[in-house]
Amino acid sequence: MWTRLKRLYHKMGSPKWFYEITSQWSPWILLVGSALMLTGIVWGLAFAPADYLQGNSFRIIYIHVPASLLSQSAYLFMAVAGLVGLVWKMKMSFVVAKVIAPIGASLAIMSLLTGAIWGKPTWGTWWVWDARLTSMLILLFLYFGVIAIYNAIENDEMANKAAAILSIVGSINIPVIKYSVEWWNTLHQPATITLTKKPTMAPEMFIPLILTILAFYCWFAVWVFARTRNEILFKERKTNWVKKLLNNDKGAQL
């Protein structure tokens, strides 16, 4: 098992292999993700019962929670990819870190927007400067910082290193977001889903939420793979295998 994982790690380190392997995986992950999303959304929006207090407005949870959760996971993926790139000098790892940043930023925006839309009818306000909301906004700014570094520094190697360090340092914010609702008084409620306790949500509302969360992770993988392949094609455009691939494509089209 360990040797197989190690072999996969080394294979993924090669742009050509990464391109080929993820091209094979992506359609399947997309298929599974889409099936999960369709089931989860239809179940959650049309069939799950309304909440006893909030009525139908709680249904935004089926987008809000997956987006929030994934925007934090994406940050950790980016930080770990940066660390692997820095320590083990793996080039592909930097490429993955780079393509995650805009995806993570858009997920954080989605989380903040859906939260505000839910907050207005439920709390009575779009925004409040409590610890959870503020730390989530900081996460978005960290993503912006990482994106800005890639755009501001011309030298690829320097940009990769600087962005990796910012991502690693910024990962301190992740436990702060997670535990903000327990450490401080906040307007945002504590977590409904935890790994250690039973969810404080009725199962017929909870199962579709799990489905949409899994679907978000699948789609995220497909999106990261697609953006990474795009980067690979650009970076390796002068190599033979990419030329051959592009010529084949042209041939197929003609």
Partner: protein, 165 residues
């Protein structure tokens, strides 16, 4: 692992630990400022400044809500199990406002220790359930409190079912 890589990994982890420590100290020092609201216990203990705009949060005490006859003024008590603070608010309350609900109010404490609110927000807790389940729980709570036909012999103290505090 290659010694050079090991060293690099240690440097990065050491840096991360250092910054984490700094952030932790900062957050601990700023704890009072990061808390969104004062609890009734803190207000009763005099921790909350008077004549300054602050936020107070707690549960609306059951049976304490009184409404003005000719305007939108509402009086109600907010408690956290230990202490209670009386709130006065003129305006439209959020839809989720009800007795037993958690709220966070923005306003000032006057000389009489009354909290004059200029904004009242409803705090939602982490529980989500269909109305039938909520009704059933409410009924079970009622039965437990006042005794149902079956078990009116045993009367125990009731814990609030949806307690976020």
């Amino acid at each position: 692992m290659h010694p050079q890589r090991k060293q690099k990994l240690f440097i990065i982890l050491f840096m991360l630990a250092g910054i984490a420590l700094a952030v932790t100290l900062m957050l601990v020092a700023l704890k009072e400022n990061i808390n969104l609201f004062y609890t009734p216990t803190q207000i009763a203990a005099g921790e909350a400044p008077k004549h300054r705009t602050i936020r107070a949060g707690g549960m609306v005490v059951e049976g304490s809500v009184t409404r003005g006859d000719d305007d939108l003024t509402v009086h109600f008590d907010v408690g956290d199990g230990n202490s209670v603070v009386t709130l006065r608010y003129t305006g439209i309350l959020p839809d989720l406002f009800r007795e037993g609900q958690g709220i966070v109010a923005l306003g000032q404490i006057n000389e009489r220790g009354e909290f004059i609110a200029s904004e009242v927000l409803a705090k939602h807790d982490e529980n989500y359930m269909p109305p039938e389940v909520a009704d059933a729980m409410e009924k079970a709570k009622y039965d437990k409190k006042y005794g149902s036909a079956k078990n009116n012999a045993e009367k125990t103290d009731v814990k609030p079912s949806t307690g976020a505090y």
